[in-house]
Symmetry: C2
Subunit: 121 residues, 2 copies
DNA sequence: TAACTAATCAACCTATTGGTTTATCAACCC
DNA sequence: GGGTTGATAAACCAATAGGTTGATTAGTTA
């Protein structure tokens, strides 16, 4: 059931953050856990729609859920957010290093690796 | 077309990175500029499709284009990538700080602005 | 038990996305 | 000029994402 390897997870995460509503949810959750009802309150859209958004975030493991009676609080998962910044920085830093001709930085960052780069040439 | 304020730009950027093909393009471009034909070569899809993807990245200002005769090389724009990591870190760091009960970090970061590279556990 | 609350499921609708193919534009090279 | 190359535009299509409403599952409380 956990057929989500590291690469799929990156896919899901970036996909999840592509929606403005979901980014607002992340923003809200950075201030602490909240239930679906609480999260839905500031939005125009229905509670069900928000629930769906949460599921998308959950599948990307950007959030987790706990249990408190019939409530199911949503928690932010900073570790997964870090994986995103790691991916972005991987390319940003390489390019910036090249701009300055510092390939020392390039090598010290290549170790960080671990994504999907299968290009030839 | 230039009505893209900072927030729209963030929208466009995350949206752009939500596609696996576009992320592979970014990956390729981190090793240096390339033309559409060069970029399209490793992909199954048509050149036109790649061209469209480039336009999406361009609108998000994640890449820029120069001119060389009839070629139009695509260049990565590290500055915009940095804006993404800044956004993510904004929430990730706040949450991580709360985990550890360090709201000192929280306040020093609440000011926000231009977070470069400084976080390293 | 019944009633209430939190959240999800299910069916459905519409706009957008990512892809195709064909045709066109623009700059180079005999 | 005519031909070739690099890149885009236009029209179209299937799949999906994001939204809706209505019904349903759990848990809580009277």
């Amino acid at each position: 059931m956990d057929t989500t390897d590291d690469d799929d997870l990156l896919d899901l995460a970036f996909m999840a953050l592509s929606d403005p509503v979901r980014r607002r949810l992340i923003s809200r959750l950075s201030r602490g856990p909240a239930t679906v009802n609480e999260l839905a309150e500031p939005f125009e859209i229905s509670k069900q729609a928000v629930s769906k958004h949460i599921q998308v975030l959950e599948q990307a493991q950007l959030v987790t859920r706990s249990r408190d009676a019939q409530r199911r609080p949503v928690h932010l998962n900073p570790a997964r957010l870090e994986a995103l910044t790691a991916w972005i920085d991987q390319y940003r830093l390489v390019r910036e290093a090249q701009f300055r001709g510092l390939d020392a930085v390039l090598h010290s960052n290549a170790a960080h690796g671990g994504s999907s780069q299968k290009d030839r040439k």
